[in-house]
Structures are given as structure tokens and as C-alpha cells.
Symmetry: C2
DNA sequence: CGATTATTCAATAGAATACTTGAGCATTTG
DNA sequence: CAAATGCTCAAGTATTCTATTGAATAATCG
């Protein structure tokens, strides 16, 4: 292989890898991937949750599909999109770590939007696991039911944030409550902790979300769970 | 935090993480990062090695610098660029794994440009480490000297590919030779193995390159090494 | 100091991307 | 079968990205 061929090979190879880079070079696509990390979804659901028009969401999904980072399964009228592999999540997580580490703007945003009270003492996955084993904790999944059913921390109960105030009586007063949601920047758990704390429950949030828990191969379940 | 604020927060946060994505959304930038993973370099060196004009390379470096994935240290007339952190390498590696897994084009390129003979039985880092401990192998770094000096596999000798034919007599005839270079898609080691094999040496290549070896915390050295 | 060198900057043209609108297609429902 | 639904596609426009050119800057050398 001579110089010109080497150049051509390298250029084409790096261009291919850059295609994967391009797929995560847009905020809306990152949000779509984060949503898909919770549970497969239809285009309409994704569009609504990410604040996009359906056509626009569909286009972003096509971009992701063209480099096979998402998969699609058609079922009747609906197209269910999902992540193509666990590696896609890894990519998003590395991106997040780099952002936290190297972009001052990220810290600024967190400081600006999340009040310090909301960020009080979250616990880690390891700590939660320890407390679950000691049966010293009541684990609460505050994501939408669909996401809970697609997979949740083993033993966790589901009370979507929207229903929380109406279902307080299901929650034990004595035990410590650990609420979790989609990930470290999702505010569902923060808001749940705020509601519970103000009602006198002992509640904290899990720092991470379900995808992180799962990717560490900690115990998970799927399905409707306990009532 | 109400709905509109949530939306704003999410949009801005994901946009920040997407900035990191944008930094790896271009083949030339990926090549630059791969080069920087070997050793810090000046703009001119990078431009030459990546086949770019100096101004263009400089612009790409500015893009990388704006999101702090590369660092720069000025020394007299020269600006030495380097990777900002180990995480940047992780990002590149995840991108590569996803590309290999999900883009058929990558396999097609490898098949088209690398002859099967060049890809014969590379050995893994673990295997190499085992053989080094048994002193059953002579490890050869065929990267440019500058990269060798910035860091190499502990005990490896440096013979840059360009000098290999002239320095064959330094290489032992009896021992097995393991040549390594920048990474799995770098052809330096392939070509070295081809040269050595045709001269009757027993030579194979390491599947990975030095950055992968280092990131696994296997033994490394830096400096001029043994003569 | 003026010339040289390495790098960056500014301006530009052309390519690619993002979002909207409205139409089109396939499947299901009444 | 017609209407409704969920999704995709095509076209148009605004924006962003890329590479080139030539000038500007800044450190070094004679």
C-alpha cells in the first residue's frame, strides 16, 4: 500500500468513525438517545417528550438509524425505536463525563437551574445496593410507568411523579425512601424528594438513574412489578 | 422549576454535551486526536501527518480547544498540542467500537485496503504481556522516534518503520518479534511484519497500539530507551 | 532592527445540517 | 371502502461547518 492509498484508507476510515460522532453532535439527538435508554418508544412519544415536531424527531431518528445506533421495529401503525446496543449508552456516558470535566458551562447550568436544596446528598448505586441488602430502604421509581415496566431496579415500586401527591399513603413513613429517575440530570427524583421531604418523609435521591444501574449489572427486573 | 424552565435547562445541557460530540464529528479531527494520543505535537507536524494545510489543522485544533478536549502549551515559536485527558481517548475508542459494530462500511474498507496477509494472526495485549514475562519475545516499536520517546511498552526497542530495512542486524534471529504501532488500523506494524517475515524473522503484530496498552495500565516507559 | 518562522485570524465560497411545511404511504378503524 | 392515524419523505430556507486564501501576530535569529 503506497502513500496515496494509505491516505485514502485513513481518510475513509476516520470519516466512517466520524459518522458515529455526527450522530451525537446534536443536543436533540442526545436527548432522544437518553429517552431511548429508558425504554423503546414511538416517534410521537419521543417528539412530545423532547419538545420536537414529529417530522423533526423522525428526521433525527433517520440520522441515528443511518449509522445503526438505534433500531426500529414496526408494529401496526407504530414504529418503536430503541437503542441498537449497550455501547451507545456508553458513548453518551463518556460524552457526559467529558462535558462535566471540560465544559465550565455545564457546571454553570446546573448551578443556575438546580437549587442547592434539590441537590442535597444524593446516594450512590453502591450505597443503595448495600441498603437494599440490609432491607433498610424503600426504593421508589418516579419515571413514567412505561419506563418502569421496560426495566427497573429490582424491588423498586413505581409511582410516576405526576401521581405522587395522590398516592402518598402507599409510602411507608418509617423507612428511608430512595427515589430514582432517568439519570443524574433528570429532575423527576429531585422533585419527588422535595415533595416527600416537605410531607415529613425521609427521602433522598439516587445520584444516577436506571440506565447507569443496569449497565453496572446490578439487580434489575422488568414488567408491571408489585402493585 | 416549571415546564418551560425544564425545557430550557434540558435543551442547554444537551447542547453542551453535544459540543463534545461535535468535536468528534469530523474525520480529520479524529485523526488529529489519534495522533495526539501517541505524543504531543506541533501544528505543523499534525498538519503534515494528517494531510492537512497548516491553517486548516489549526482551525480544527481551535474547535477541539474550544471544548477543552486538547491542551496547548506554547514553547518559543511552537505550540505543542496534546490530549486534555485520558477520557478523550476513551471517547475515541468507544466511537471506534461502535463503528466496527454498526457500520458495514468499516469492514468493507478493511477488507479492501488491508490484504489478508497483512492481517495474519495479530496477538493481544494480554498474550504479549504473558510472553514478555516469559522473556520469550522481542518487542519492537515501529512508530516515529518522537512517539516512542513520549511513551512505549516497557522493554520495547525503537526502530521506526522507515529505518527498519537498514537496521535489520539489530534484530535477533531466534526470538519471536512482536511489532506494534499506533493502533489497530495503523499499518506500520503490518508493514514491519511483512518486511521481517520476508527476511526469515518470526514476526507478528500486536492487534492494538500503544495507547490501548497504556490505558490498560500495563507496564510502560518513556524516554530514549535502550540503544 | 529587519527577516524568518510558526501559528492564528478574517473573509469567503461551497457543502452539509436543521427545521418547517405539506404531501405521500401504509395500516387500522368505522 | 373511506377516514383516521402514525410515520416518512421532498422541497425550501436559514444556519452552521469546512477548507482556502492571504493577512496579522508573535517569538526568534542574524
Amino acid at each position: 500500500m503506497n502513500g496515496a492509498h494509505k491516505r485514502e484508507f485513513k481518510d475513509q476510515l476516520f470519516e466512517q468513525f466520524a459518522r458515529i460522532g455526527k450522530s451525537v453532535a446534536n443536543g436533540h439527538r442526545l436527548e432522544i438517545l437518553e429517552l431511548l435508554a429508558q425504554a423503546p418508544r414511538t416517534v410521537e412519544d419521543l417528539a412530545r417528550e423532547a419538545g420536537l415536531s414529529v417530522a423533526n424527531a423522525s428526521q433525527h431518528l433517520q440520522v441515528l438509524r443511518r449509522c445503526n445506533v438505534v433500531s426500529v421495529k414496526r408494529n401496526g401503525l407504530y414504529a418503536y425505536y430503541g437503542l441498537a446496543s449497550e455501547d451507545v449508552l456508553t458513548l453518551c456516558r463518556v460524552l457526559r463525563r467529558l462535558g462535566e470535566k471540560h465544559l465550565a458551562e455545564v457546571q454553570r447550568l446546573v448551578d443556575a437551574y438546580l437549587t442547592s436544596r434539590q441537590r442535597l446528598e444524593p446516594i450512590s448505586c453502591e450505597e443503595l445496593l448495600r441498603r437494599i441488602r440490609e432491607k433498610a430502604v424503600w426504593v421508589l421509581d418516579v419515571r413514567p410507568r412505561q419506563e418502569y415496566e421496560a426495566g427497573h431496579i429490582a424491588g423498586a415500586r413505581s409511582i410516576p411523579l405526576a401521581e405522587l401527591k395522590a398516592r402518598l399513603k402507599e409510602i411507608p413513613r418509617r423507612k428511608q425512601i430512595v427515589a430514582y429517575c432517568r439519570g443524574p440530570y433528570c429532575v423527576f427524583a429531585d422533585e419527588a424528594v422535595a415533595v416527600l421531604s416537605s410531607r415529613g418523609y425521609r427521602a433522598v435521591r439516587l445520584r444516577e438513574g436506571f440506565p447507569e444501574w443496569k449497565s453496572r449489572h446490578l439487580p434489575v427486573e422488568a414488567g408491571p412489578g408489585v402493585p
